[in-house]
């Protein structure tokens, strides 16, 4: 699934009560994190020089990101990924994330996906439309 598809699925789960009663917050978090990770992979694979990075650990990938994209975008990507990872691991005593948190992460990842795609060489808004 493409990052956009993953995000759409996440939004669907968040807003559609019938699916996965109760379990949806973690599922939304899982899908959102996957969207972010998929965007990262696509970002690296779009250039031969960085294609190998997509095989590294996510932490390494996020550490390299500032060298290839605006520092603020990179910093936000690292922050959102950490938060999503937190939500996707079992933490003692912590309950599933709230709607507010999930919505914030979804929007952040949508923005990050856009920023990273804009940086892909040869890519334009046309290209983005085509790939969607």
């Amino acid at each position: 699934m493409t990052p956009a598809e993953l995000l759409t699925a996440a939004r669907g789960l968040l807003e559609k009560p019938a699916i996965a009663p109760g379990g949806w917050p973690r599922m939304v978090a899982l899908l959102t994190r996957q969207a972010l990770e998929r965007s990262l992979s696509e970002f690296w694979e779009a250039r031969p020089a960085t294609a190998g990075l997509s095989q590294c650990s996510r932490k390494s990938q996020l550490a390299c990101l500032p060298f290839y994209i605006d520092v603020r975008v990179a910093r936000e990507a690292a922050y959102v990924w950490a938060a999503l990872s937190d939500a996707c691991h079992y933490h003692a005593y912590e309950l599933a994330p709230t709607v507010g948190e999930l919505t914030g992460w979804l929007n952040a990842v949508a923005g990050l996906t856009q920023s990273m795609r804009d940086k892909v060489p040869g890519s334009s808004s046309h290209g983005r439309l085509r790939s969607e």
Binding site: M1, E5, L6, A9, G12, L13, L14, E15, K16, P17, A18, I19, A20, P21, G22, G23, W24, P25, R26, M27, L30, L31, Q34, E37, D86, C88, H89, Y90, H91, A92, Y93, E94, L95, A96, P97, T98, V99, G100, T103
Partner: protein, 817 residues
């Protein structure tokens, strides 16, 4: 007053003596306002000194069956929290903002019409009570199961656009008509006394206002009747003291007025009122001119002068005429010869007797022969008769002369004392004194001439006397009136003040007795209150003993002390054995625990009609060890009460599960649009596996989405199984709660968590696969499939992935018990 309290008061009167008057006032105050007034009014028969028993209406006891909320705070479309109506523990777990507190707050608002923890908040905050997404209808209802009455529904609704305070409440018992208001439940007083709600912010505020905590505790002790009696006594004392103060406050003014009047009565009044032991009676007598208030000085003399009298003109004329007539009569009767005539008549009578006895013959006196014969006898008899008449006329004239003389003497009254004094104002007694002097200085000689001289004196001396005395009397009268005009208004003021002072002084006589009764009752109330508080304190200590866990604070006696604005709760604590100030040394968590220790016994008193107890977020700021203690305390309380606890994280549910405490755990979540869902919560591993299984079976979920999500949920389930194993094993080994939790948090990847579970060491991630392989080959395979699938999705049967994950969690449970 209820009989139990009255009994305590009467028994204490035997041990702690109170003077008779004070004691009778005390008992009257214990009875009623009317009794106290009657007693203070001097009626010795106190009305109903032994009050009849008061029929206490026991409120209905109730459990909760459901709480439904819509359009209120975090809840949009109607959401219902269903409960088992009976003793037991229910945990409602939800993240902050999930809407769970809307149920807790909603129940309080439903039953009390208000929210305690809002009372200190700003209006802006309070105005946000309607749900933003679904503001209408705003409605809260609760299904109740009421003892001896069956199911009932209490409901509170707000009209569209209505403000918070403008709500409408009803209650309806099954099969009965719906009634407006909630009075049918009979909870009005009990809600204040036993308050079955406790929110986190209230817990924090518990110790902020010492007087508030005092009220919370003292209200359950049922001592209002004693307080009421004390209020009655205090009011009576205050009123009486105020009356006297008021009178005393006016005294300086009155004394000033008195000083401004130049009048001896004013001086006397001043004297009577100014001294330390003032004599209000005397001042009043002076002011009103009563018998004991007659002035002795100038006013008295003026009064005497004004009343001076002289004989009247007619009287004087009469006496003068009589004197002169008597003088003339004396002249006519021959002066004083009456005696001689009588003596001669006596001699002649004796001669006649001799003649009659011895017959005619010579004169026995001169011896003349034949002097006595018949002719002589006849002549002599006639002479005797003439002599006797002559004597009688003389005697009569003398008698008359004597009478008129004494009548004249009576005119000469001695000089009145008033005339002998000095001049008083314009009234100069000098001329009158001189006239009086000349008046009474008169010759008093016998005989007709004497009488005539007397008459002449009277005739001459009376006019100047009369003139001088009359003039003096009218001057004195005028002087008196002038002084009276100045004095009268002041006298009226004095009299009015004195009457008030007398009343106030009479009333104030009861003040010392009232004060004695008040002091006695205060001490009695303190002792009775603390005696009644003792069992509550014992229970609080027992709860604290469970909650304190690793705290070094020991809870001692809890006492209520002081009164009025200085009322407070003394909580004796010792820190590591040495006494300390309770709150200064305690952490926020400890303060919360202490507040809970006091709240729980109060809310679960047998006399409370509430069989339910709602606690919102008690675990904030509590460390894990205290949460475990709290779980045990709640288990105990839930043995006899329906305990509903709202909590924002999984600490309390985890402790409840780990300790095997029977409890229903509900999960509250909130979707966009304030759609709040409540459903039974499974243990985390079960929950996650069930979610994963449900996803596989959901035809609406796109397969590719499921392939992305299911592995993640399964990995979460396995991770949860590892985490539970870590906690289970390490806590059993005696490690500190906080250390275990820190280790778990530090193991922040799937592999680290597994290593911590398997080896007690998160850094041995490289050994995980080997150990799982040693358990079972499929365990290692599942582990790997989950780790990869969680990020990249799973290719293959999702259902079998879920069942593999379930197997792995069971293996973990079995291998790491």
């Amino acid at each position: 007053m209820d009989d139990a309290l009255l009994g305590l008061v009467l028994a204490r009167l035997d041990d702690v003596p109170l003077a008779e008057e004070a004691a009778s006032l005390l008992l009257a105050a214990c009875d009623s306002d009317a009794s106290l007034s009657a007693r203070l009014g001097g009626e010795s028969q106190v009305v109903g000194e032994r009050p009849g028993e008061r029929v206490a209406s026991e409120p209905a006891g109730a459990y909760l069956r459901a709480i439904s909320v819509s359009g209120f705070r975090g809840v949009g479309p109607s959401a219902t929290l269903e409960l088992e109506p009976g003793p037991g523990l229910t945990l409602a777990v939800g993240r902050n903002g999930s809407g769970k507190s809307s149920f807790a707050d909603g129940l309080e608002v439903l039953l009390t019409g208000d929210l305690k923890r809002w009372q200190d908040l700003s209006a802006v905050w309070q105005d946000g009570w309607r749900n933003l997404h679904v503001p209408d209808p705003a409605r809260i209802s609760a299904e109740l199961l009421v003892e001896d009455a069956g199911p009932a529904t209490a409901e509170r609704t707000w009209g569209s656009g209505a403000v918070f305070a403008d709500s409408h409440s009803t209650v309806q018992f099954a099969g009965k008509k719906r009634a407006a208001g909630l009075d049918l439940l009979g909870w009005r007083e009990a809600l204040a006394t036993y308050r079955p709600f406790l929110s986190h912010s209230e817990l924090e505020a518990f110790f902020n206002g010492p007087s508030r905590l005092y009220d919370l505790l003292s209200s359950v002790l049922g001592l209002e009747d004693l307080t009421t009696a004390e209020k009655r006594l205090s009011a009576a004392r205050k009123e009486r003291k105020a009356g006297l103060d008021e009178v005393n406050k006016d005294l300086p003014d009155l004394l000033g007025r008195l000083a401004s009047v130049d009048d001896e009565r004013a001086r006397s009044c001043q004297e009577a009122l100014i001294s330390r032991k003032r004599d209000v009676d005397r001042a009043l007598a002076i002011a009103t001119g009563g018998p004991s208030g007659q002035p002795e000085g100038e006013i008295g003399r003026l009064r005497q002068l004004s009343q001076l009298m002289v004989p009247s003109q007619e009287e004087v004329n009469g006496v003068v005429t009589a004197l002169r007539a008597a003088a003339d009569a004396l002249d006519e009767s021959g002066g004083s010869e009456a005696g001689q005539a009588l003596a001669l008549a006596g001699l002649l009578s004796s001669a006649l007797d001799h003649y009659h006895a011895h017959g005619a013959g010579a004169c026995p006196v001169c011896g003349r022969a034949a002097a006595l014969d018949e002719a002589w006898s006849d002549q002599t008899e006639r002479q005797i008769d003439r002599l006797q008449r002559q004597a009688s006329a003389a005697r009569e004239a003398q008698t008359k002369a004597n009478g008129t003389r004494s009548a004249a003497r009576e005119l000469f009254l001695p000089m009145p004392a008033a005339l002998t004094g000095p001049q008083v104002g314009a009234a100069d007694p000098g001329p009158a004194r001189a006239a009086w002097d000349s008046w009474i200085k008169h010759a008093d000689e016998e005989g007709p001439d004497g009488l005539r001289m007397l008459a002449d004196h009277i005739e001459q001396a009376w006019p100047p006397l009369s003139q001088a005395v009359t003039a003096l009397a009218s001057t004195a009268e005028a002087e008196l009136r002038a002084r009276e005009d100045l004095w009268a208004p002041v006298a009226a003021e004095v009299a009015a003040w004195c009457k008030r002072a007398e009343d106030a002084e009479t009333a104030a006589q009861a003040v010392p007795a009232l004060q004695a009764a008040i002091t006695w009752l205060k001490n009695a109330t303190d002792d009775i209150r603390n005696a009644r508080l003792a069992p509550l304190g014992d229970e609080a200590r027992a709860i604290w003993a469970q909650l304190r866990q690793e705290s070094n604070v020991d809870l001692g006696a809890i006492r209520l002390s002081g009164s009025g604005n200085r009322r407070q709760v003394d909580v004796k604590v010792t820190v590591d054995g040495s006494p300390g100030a309770a709150l200064g040394v305690m952490s926020q968590g400890e303060v919360n625990a202490l507040a809970l220790s006091i709240f729980l016994p109060r809310a679960t008193m047998p006399s409370s009609p509430f069989r339910f107890l709602v606690i919102d977020d008690p675990v904030q700021a509590m460390d894990p060890a205290k949460v475990e203690g709290l779980a045990r305390v709640l288990e105990h309380v839930a043995g006899s009460r329906q305990v509903l606890v709202f909590t924002h994280d999984d600490r309390l549910p985890e402790a409840v599960r780990r300790l095997g405490i029977p409890a229903r755990i509900l999960e509250v979540t909130r979707r966009p649009g304030s759609v709040v869902e409540v459903r039974p919560a499974l243990a985390p591993v079960e929950r996650l596996l069930k979610d994963a299984g449900d996803l596989c079976a959901d035809p609406d979920l796109p397969e590719d989405v499921a392939a992305q999500v299911v592995p993640g949920l399964c990995r979460l389930a396995v991770e949860a199984a590892f985490t539970e194993a870590i906690r289970r094993q390490q806590l059993r080994a005696g490690r500190r709660h906080a250390d275990v939790e820190a280790d778990i948090e530090a193991a922040d990847t799937f592999t680290k968590r597994a290593a911590l579970a398997l080896f007690g060491d998160a850094s041995k991630g490289g050994d995980v696969l080997r150990r799982l392989n040693a358990w079972h080959r499929s365990a290692a395979d599942t582990y790997q499939a989950l780790n990869k699938g969680a990020h990249d999705g799973h290719r293959g049967s999702l259902r079998s992935l879920v069942s593999q994950a379930r197997q792995l969690t069971e293996t973990i449970g079995g291998k790491l018990p």
